[in-house]
């Protein structure tokens, strides 16, 4: 995910910017499986986000906890904690996959998909 900011896949040319805090961001990118401790904070973060907020799950761990389904510390998948709009599989997904996922999401939101 972080590689998208680097010179080769620079996503700022598409207008996507990394906002330091959730309050002035519209898209919440979630990676990694959510264990009990981080689920509470994730919920609080989601409530703080300005409401037309789009959630994108990146990577197998956040889609369906991939490898950690039977872990005693990751009880529920991500989309039972917060509503998720787009899923980008891959472990880890290529930066191009993240960008093309975002493009598909934009088209879907605009209704032109």
């Amino acid at each position: 995910m972080l590689d998208c900011l680097t010179p080769r896949f620079d996503i700022e040319r598409f207008g996507m910017l990394l906002a330091p805090s959730i309050k002035h961001a519209d898209v919440l990118l979630v990676t990694g499986s959510c264990n009990r401790k981080s689920a509470i904070r994730l919920k609080r973060l989601y409530e703080q986000a300005p409401k037309p907020c789009v959630v994108v799950a990146i990577g197998e761990c956040s889609l369906s906890r991939g490898m950690f389904i039977h872990s005693y510390n990751c009880p529920i998948p991500l989309d039972k904690i917060i509503p998720v709009d787009a899923y980008i599989p891959g472990c880890p997904p290529k930066p191009e996959a993240i960008i093309s996922g975002a493009v598909k999401l934009i088209q879907k939101l605009k209704g032109t998909l």
Partner: protein, 394 residues
Amino acid sequence: MAKSIIPIGPYHPLQEEPEFFTLTVDGETVVDIDVSIGYNHRGIEKLSEMKTFDQSTFVIERICGICSTSHPFAYTRAVEDIIPVEVPDRAKYIRTIIGEGERIHSHLLWLGLAGHFLGYNTVYMWVWKLREEILDAMEILSGNRNNYAMFKPGGVRRDINSEDIPPALRKIESIVPTLNKLKKAIIDDPVLHARLKGIGILTKEEALDYCALGPTSRASGVAKDVRKDAPYGAYDQVQWDMIVTENGDVFDKVVVRVLEMFESVKIMKQCLENLPPGEIDLNIKNIPPGEGIGAHEAPRGETFHYVRSDGTNRPARHKVRAPTFMNLPTFKATVIGETISDATIILASIDPCYCCTERMSVMNCRGKKIYSGEDLVRLSQDKTKLIQKKMGLK
């Protein structure tokens, strides 16, 4: 002086391993620091008891996003230690290549982020552009940018076919000239000297007492490296030397990591050029009951795996110890007594899965002033600008 507590909140888009540092601050200097981890605890040891020996290499690989091949390296060595079996030569060379490639891209990643903390955003962008070359080389060799899925108890899963070697070699050699420029730019940059020298010193005795590992301990003069002391893989058939510096401050940790990258490029080139022929896997069928210990020199230190098998095809107990587990408590010795603006770079200097220190927020009980994580990084960047002004560079 009323002490104020600085909770360093756990969430930030840049962070890999969410950790929660609380610094208690007396005015400017840090008086005490405490960390609560466990935000990423996924119970890997219990999980690997549910999987077979072969499947649990994939669980182990996903412990840490960047050093994703050092854990399987140590795990497969531990399983081979139970049977006592020796891996064929070609598999040793392939393992060393993947291990070293991963060390380069992990150090580059850390260098970029350390630059970002100090306000050198150009270093951040330059170093990560360089890192893309290495990730392409790893994709050629192993099929994926990061989680390489190359390791198997008893050998390697995929072979490196010969026509892939020249393009990978070209990509690896293409980073050396830029790396040289970076080394010169970092080592003789007066601002970095003034900024990083003398802060966050980990003396040799403390490094031994905390049992610190890897570059963190090698920067304070503790000459310990698993690849030299207990040579395994192809590390004894290849010439390279260990980097040790003396005074253990943040500047030395930067120097150790930069010079180690040159060694890794040397190792990878020698391994890729004389890759011995032969088969790559022992096809271990059954693992006798017993215990095995495996260790590997990860980019951040020595990963240690203890595997106990009771004769079935599932490990009975699997103890994993990442290097940061031993390096992280050393912040008690290094951060206390420093100013807040230095706290970010010191905590990042032990490379705790790159930038957990990004999550900082300062709460001053009296004035209710709230610094967020970004402000603390900005504080550390202002300090660099202050030093530049003092040096008359601006």
